[in-house]
Symmetry: C2
Subunit: 346 residues, 2 copies
């Protein structure tokens, strides 16, 4: 028997994050290569004039369309538009468009250039950063995907003018999450400027999003493949995903409820001050996010046991010891269940 | 406007290449993680006893089954078998199984461990090395895929005992290609030992495959993403793919014809000695590979203009100046067409 060890060259990836002033400025970041746009029918209808200069793939909106079949649709369209290795795929839309566009770009001819213009608050602050793409497989969320850094992300808060209140507030849940795990000074900023945020005042949104995005990108930069540090970003997400699976709440609403559970569990597990839980609750409520309507603990545990992040009978759970100090621990399902029983009806 | 540049950590990948003595030894390379096998129904039938220890996904054999739908079938099976991030997908089969298994492993939960046991000569010498996975999109070959290094490739020549003569000889085309572009001393070795090769004598095959595989892996190591040097491995493949698309010949047979055209073009373009072309032809013929039955030059050029490696009106073509000295040049379709007209009927 003979064994050889091959060590191919490391792959360096660089991603530009641009806080833009206008749609027209985006052109400066489109290189001299063929551009193909990917968007969904909602964004296309609202901003039709933006889509006249390049060929455009239009998908159906909504999380239930985030499936491999629709990525294949995009791939077929790329082929029809004659995309080659020098092409740039520019996705313009919410998280679903970003995920499917990014996955298509990473698969077409084993990877073409990818740029992303997020149009929702959730996508601007969360989905745009991290280099993760994914689609669902049936009802299993985000089980299929790749790690793909976009060449650039162009953030333009003016898109938020047309977002519904419910979806806008859903995005606020992730911003509040970032504040509690890593930017304690942002907690008071959000509280004090919540009126301006509600009225979608440009400068306030700009500074809010920038703070949140730069925090997330700093975490991701240190841990691109989610081997350690990056896990803190899952604060509120273990129970959040279990709640989202029930189909009643949006991602942000589910994360709001998941953070409430994680905070209350952290009070028991590692002495988080109840005042912090109260502050979290009051901030979430200011943005009409749910904070009390939990499924039963049995239903939650049933869903969590299927979580793709589990390792055998354990899962990495994100606790909070104080604002800005999350703590990731491999916790047994039994432990989490015992905490839930102290908080929720069975 | 504000711009930030993010530089995530480089991703290091390491791949082990093992020339094995027996099926049982393979166990030493299976780590203490859950293993799921992927194979096709032909390999499964021939080696059923090998597949008893682990859950096994069985796909349909053949290039026409190398489609995204079948990758999705594998992904669904992984989900059913309860594969998680700690699982290892072990693909056992020819290039189609390796491609689909590798692509599934790179997509499932954004990437799980992947090992590969190639069972055909072509897969052992060619598909096993390079970290490329791909499926076809309709009739477009290998247009969808990823760059994914397997954790290990386990080469066991005993699998070749059950391979058909036609497929075995198809694999010889790539071995002869490697000899002409990079291992001139292998040319005489193949000529002198062609009887032992035909009778599939273990030691001869072992040394033949090792020579070829180590050459390819040395090229790939220097150029994992096919930005430069690696292009030399496409010798005979520009016309080869155009011929393969006609559906009459296997991949290896098409490459044999493609190399004959590339050699004759190289005589005109860069003074390759006709004696080398003659040597190439005689070696290919010893393994029953076609060397003269070309499509018309019009048909060839029609197919080549759709090649995914083209850049506008040009394509990187691999010429040969002498054995061991390939030369890659960006050549216009017009130039290649003019050469074809000197060689083939229109």
């Amino acid at each position: 028997m003979e064994i050889y060890t091959l060590t191919p060259n490391p792959v360096h990836t660089i991603s530009k994050l641009i806080f833009g002033d206008s749609w027209d400025d985006l052109r400066h970041f489109l290189p001299g290569k063929p551009v193909i746009l990917v968007t969904d029918s909602t964004v296309y209808r609202l901003y039709e004039s933006y889509f006249t200069s390049y060929p455009c793939v239009i998908t159906e909106p909504g999380e239930n369309n985030k499936q491999l079949e629709n990525v294949q649709f995009i791939l077929n369209q790329l082929l029809e538009f004659g995309a080659d290795r020098s092409s740039l795929l520019l996705a313009i839309g919410g998280g679903v468009v970003g995920d499917m566009g990014g996955l298509a770009a990473s698969l077409y001819m084993r990877g073409i250039s990818f740029g992303y213009v997020p149009t929702t608050l959730l996508a601007m602050t969360d989905a745009s950063i991290g280099g993760k793409t994914a689609v669902n497989l049936g009802t299993w969320k985000n089980i299929i995907g790749t790690f793909t850094q976009p060449e650039f992300v162009y953030i333009l808060p003016q898109f938020l003018a047309t977002q519904s209140d419910r979806d806008f507030c859903s995005g606020m849940a992730e911003i509040i999450k970032h504040a509690f795990i890593g930017i304690p000074e942002a907690i008071s900023y959000i509280r004090e400027s919540h009126q301006e945020i509600w009225s979608r005042k440009s400068e306030t949104l700009f500074s809010l999003i920038k703070q949140s995005v730069l925090y997330k990108s700093a975490v991701v930069e240190q841990d691109e493949k989610e081997l350690g540090l990056r896990a803190i970003l899952n604060f509120g997400h273990t129970f959040g995903h279990a709640i989202e699976e029930e189909g009643r709440y949006t991602h942000g609403e589910s994360v709001a409820l998941g953070m409430m559970l994680a905070a209350r569990i952290s009070e028991i597990h590692c002495g988080l001050s109840p005042a912090v839980t109260h502050e979290l609750k009051s901030l979430l409520q200011r943005f009409s996010l749910p904070v009390e309507e939990f499924p039963s603990s049995d239903q939650l545990m049933h869903n969590i046991r299927k979580d793709k992040k589990k390792s055998g009978n354990h899962i990495r759970f994100v606790y909070l010891t104080s604002p800005g100090h999350p703590r990731v621990e491999l916790s047994s399902f039994e432990l989490l269940e015992s905490y839930l029983h102290k908080i929720l009806p069975i």
